[in-house]
């Protein structure tokens, strides 16, 4: 049912009729596969595919992006191809989101699948350059990249580029600016990076999980991939499950899996839950009741105004003050503004201030109105979606913690625990 318990025989058989349940990034043995021989023994060689084969595979499999937005990979490949000119491909492993660990897991446990996927997309768009953009903690991957190159399995040279550990570092234009030697901050769009990205060239930026999945699809075929998940979003995805669960960590489950099952994969809740955060700090909160019936697919979650995003799931136990959590994260998100767009630079700190006052000071209902007004002032008024995502996190939180808001306005709080659940990286 879930990939943690799935068998993964994994050898490429040359036919696309495999009927193993999709999944396969984690498999039955979560141990790291770092040496090339071990990787090839487990997964077999990449079949030799032409550019059109790769696009067709991605399309037939229905493989969508796992960096958050869920956009079909094949359409992005076609956009880059149609832009013409010498293309660039980037494996995005920045994972700026502090509550997410799945890309880090992949780069430490399944790096060869990511690098295989990077070669496949490079082939698809006939790229001359390929980059692996990830935190400096992954610099050890240089050995693997060199080893693959020496073994002759990587046709396109791969360069590792360091991603700063900041929230917005992984936004695609920020990634491109950083690789080009500039600051890891977003650019205004248009132009889209598929048209003009790194050094003005058409650029494909794909999340490392998307690429690792493509490497599995190339070996096992689209039908295998489609044997799990939903019609719109086939296959499985990685979830980083944190908060009040017995075994916080990275798990894998098909799109559409009930949220309660995803929590069970991480050992299940350690106590009664009051809320669950989905999709990280640009994501949405669900009440415990909603979480009990929600399924982890884009179409199901849309009913709650939520999305699986890049797979962050954080369970919040009763007794933790949701407003204190909102406050800490909004302060962090304000800090993480790249500071180049006026409404984001000015608005997010003001919003954070108001949330702090709601969470910690004696306050009145005017704060709540002011928060709604300020939120309206930042949404849609930036070069990237940082303001929009931050406001989504806040608004859904205020809805889910409405009772707590009422209590705070009455100078009371239900808090019984001082746990700080949502992780942040403050720089000051």
């Amino acid at each position: 049912m879930t990939a943690m318990t799935q068998t993964m025989t994994g050898n490429y058989t040359g036919n696309y009729t495999g009927n193993e349940a999709a999944g396969g990034l984690i498999g039955p043995q979560p141990a790291a596969v770092l040496d090339l021989r071990g990787h090839l023994a487990q997964h077999g060689q990449l079949p030799s595919l032409g550019p059109h084969d790769v696009v067709r595979l991605a399309r037939d499999a229905g493989l969508t992006g796992h960096g958050g937005a869920g956009f079909p990979l094949w359409r992005k490949l076609e956009a880059v191809i149609n832009s013409g000119g010498r293309a660039v491909v980037v494996a995005n492993g920045a994972e700026g989101e502090p509550a997410s660990a799945k890309d880090r897991w992949l780069l430490t446990h399944r790096p060869h699948l990511v690098l295989d996927g990077l070669q496949l997309v490079a082939r698809a768009v006939r790229a001359g350059d390929a980059y692996l953009y990830a935190s400096e903690r992954h610099r050890g991957l240089d050995h693997l990249i060199a080893e693959r190159r020496a073994a002759g399995i990587d046709a396109v040279r791969v360069e590792r580029a360091a991603a700063p550990d900041r929230f917005i570092s992984g936004e695609e234009s920020a990634a491109i600016n950083s690789i080009a030697g500039g600051l890891a901050i977003p650019s205004s769009k248009p132009p889209r990076v598929v048209e003009r990205g790194l050094r003005g060239r058409p650029t494909l930026v794909s999340n490392v999980e998307t690429l690792a999945l493509l490497a599995l699809v190339a070996r096992r075929g689209p039908a295998w991939f489609r044997s799990a998940g939903t019609a719109d979003f086939p296959g499985s995805m990685l979830f980083t499950v944190g908060g009040a669960v017995r075994h916080p960590g990275v798990v894998e489950a098909p799109h559409g899996t009930p949220l309660t099952e995803v929590l069970e994969l991480a050992g299940g809740p350690t106590s009664r839950l009051q809320a669950v955060l989905l999709g990280g700090y640009h994501g949405s909160w669900l009440t415990a009741e909603e979480a009990a019936s929600a399924a982890m697919s884009r179409s199901d979650l849309a009913a709650y105004g939520a999305s699986p995003g890049a797979g962050v799931v954080v369970a919040l136990a009763e007794g933790v003050c949701g407003l204190a959590e909102l406050s800490r994260v909004m302060t962090y998100l304000a800090q993480e503004s790249a500071g180049q767009c006026g409404p984001c630079l000015n608005g997010l700190p003001r919003i954070a201030e108001q949330v702090r006052s709601l969470a910690f000071d004696g306050t009145d209902a005017a704060v709540f109105t002011e928060l709604q007004r300020l939120s309206g002032l930042v949404v849609g008024r930036g070069a990237c979606h940082h303001p929009d995502g931050s406001v989504r996190f806040l608004r859904t939180g205020l809805r889910v913690f409405a009772d707590e808001v009422a209590m705070h306005l009455d100078r009371r709080c239900t808090r019984t625990s001082d746990d700080r659940v949502l992780p942040v990286r403050m720089v000051r």
Binding site: P186, S187, S188, Q340, C341, G342, P343, C344, N346, G347, L377, R381, G382, A383
Partner: protein, 67 residues
């Protein structure tokens, strides 16, 4: 139809545009332009073009959109 668009990374928020096209542009409390979502009416197009040309940061543009 045509809309005004801002490059937020370039705009300095001094508000020259709001003076030139008050019909379409207000300023928020920090001075940054608040642009009406509506299409630019034909009668205002001349003013809008003038604001685009006058923006010292080349942050303002007119975008033609379909439908």
């Amino acid at each position: 139809m045509t809309r005004l668009r801002i490059d937020w990374t370039a705009c300095d928020g001094r508000g020259l545009c709001a003076e030139l096209v008050p019909e379409l542009i207000e300023r928020d409390e920090w001075g940054f332009p608040l642009i009406s979502d509506a299409a630019v009416p034909p009668g205002v197009l001349v003013h809008a073009r003038r604001a685009v040309a006058a923006c010292p940061r080349l942050a303002l543009s007119l975008q033609a959109e379909n439908a």
